[in-house]
Symmetry: C2
Subunit: 294 residues, 2 copies
DNA sequence: CATCTTTAATGCGATTTTTGCATTAATAAG
DNA sequence: CTTATTAATGCAAAAATCGCATTAAAGATG
């Protein structure tokens, strides 16, 4: 039972004429005759009732005409879907990202992806303090955007761009870009930051910054969410340190003062992932990262 | 794209190992390798990402694994259905019948059919005064049961049995089986019969009967439906003439008196109808007709 | 670091299957 | 009775499929 044989059968079941059908499907009449015979032999019953003069479908043949038609169409539809997936415009991709890029890089990337691959379904997750490496290796996500590089032979980690870390103060705060010298200036202020004991890269960076400047910050409020912190600073409840990207939130009640420290954004994916969507997204991200100057 | 190739692919997509899969499907490793290659060539994209050491599905391959599995199962299901139809236990058959057999022959036949072919769907229609021949030739019905023979080169008409025509009187009527001589006895009674001008065989027969006996019946009520007539007679509203089969209605308030006239029951179907269900039903009906002595 | 093992791909000849031409057989039409 | 139509079939050529043996590449082993 070949797909080709089924197609011959369907054509013949429409025309009910061996010679004309054979010509239509560009084979000889004898070939068509034998293909149908072979199909009938394999099925174990007749598809056509035929004498030297007339050809007509049997009841089983009539049934198969209906159902095989839909099957063949279905197979064709499946093939076309698979083709789209191969090209990389269809499917589902799961991306994990740090909250700090949700105002800048991530919307830009999403913009590109939804334009270039409109049929692509993107699942976004914002995991806190969870190992991106295991998420990738367990196939929970396909791509990870992270602040720290993942060093693993089975994962490729590529830096997309670097951005400054900024001191964030309320808009009417006494520290300005002009009078700012170093962080010791604000060592007695209230800080609103993510818990320093977190294992995330950014918490580690913060610990390092405070260490270098020789003081432990007073923390009145703690939050893992940068945009929460941003709003708290805007309401004059303290100051904070956040990546430059948060400027894209365009909050009018805060002021950003660039520090010398930098944070990177890495894109990570499974080495040799056969999914071409991943490769395409990586490419788009690299291009975007190069032109993206925060 | 062969069904066999798809099956090989599905097996390989489960095992992800050429040698083991080849052994499982009883072909050589080289053959499997080449079949998959040929499938990939035809599709135009890779199904497996493979090096000398590992085999894994591409995204498109994963998609096809899911969908082809259901397609192959579907094809198998379709084949089995078709097989059943060929054997003659599955399908739909449309049968037209005269109302007079709805108490006797028809229930017996239905009983046999539903026992022997439980998956068979039977459509019953009781057409009045309509040409069974055209219903058959227009494929509105597949089998017709009729009181008159259909004489046509494209239709086979076979007599199943003969039964007497009976005078039907209320249970306390003065005419009994013992004192009955001929119909002239009741020429002044009220008759409840189907309209004599109808073109059905039974109406023609009635006309003949009244003609032979030399009187025109007084008809107060007319009805095409035998069982309606039967109930009207039971309520003492008149007498009637019906086929013997109506005795099977087991109405306790009527008495049947056999006349000498007979009516036949014919089964009619399209000559050379390739539907094996028709042949089976004809066979069952012939056997039932022989043993059915009303 | 050299050797062994595993495993998918490939060259090649043998086998099997498929194909089309020409013909046959049966039927309907003129 | 003859002619035309049409599905099946014998046959030889062509194409495909198959499996053996081998290759090539990548761990695994010690």
């Amino acid at each position: 039972m070949t797909i080709q044989q089924i197609k011959y059968f369907l054509e013949l079941s429409n025309g009910l004429h061996f010679w004309k059908t054979a010509e239509k499907v560009s084979i000889s009449q004898s070939t068509l005759s034998r293909q149908i015979q072979s199909l009938e032999d394999e099925l174990g019953f007749q598809l056509f009732e035929r004498d030297k003069r007339n050809v007509k479908l049997t009841a089983a043949g009539k049934f198969l005409q209906d159902h095989w038609t839909t099957s063949i169409n279905e197979l064709d539809r499946i093939y076309k879907q698979a083709q789209k997936i191969d090209i990389g415009t269809l499917g589902t991709i799961s991306i994990a990202y740090p909250g700090s890029i949700s105002f800048g890089f991530l919307p830009s990337l999403m913009n590109i992806l939804t334009t270039e691959m409109p049929d692509l379904k993107i699942e976004l997750t914002e995991p806190i303090d969870i190992n991106h490496e295991s998420l990738l290796l367990n196939y929970h996500i396909d791509i990870s955007l992270s602040r720290d590089e993942i060093l693993s032979p089975t994962i490729v980690s590529k830096r997309l761009y670097s951005e400054s870390v900024c001191l964030v103060v309320p808009i009417n705060h006494w520290v300005t870009e002009e009078n700012f010298t170093d962080l010791t200036m604000v060592q007695n202020e209230n800080f609103i930051i993510s818990p320093l004991q977190n294992k995330t890269y950014f918490s580690t960076l913060l610990r390092g910054i405070f260490n270098t400047n020789g003081f432990n910050p007073k923390t009145t409020i703690e939050s893992d969410f940068g945009n929460v912190i941003l709003n708290l600073v805007a309401k004059d409840l303290g100051i904070s340190i956040l990546p430059y990207s948060f400027q894209f939130a365009k909050n009018p009640n805060v002021r950003f003062i660039e520090l010398t420290e930098k944070v990177d954004l890495y894109m990570n994916w499974r080495r040799n992932d056969p999914n071409k969507i991943v490769k395409r997204i990586v490419n788009y991200s690299e291009v975007l990262g190069e032109t993206y100057i925060p």
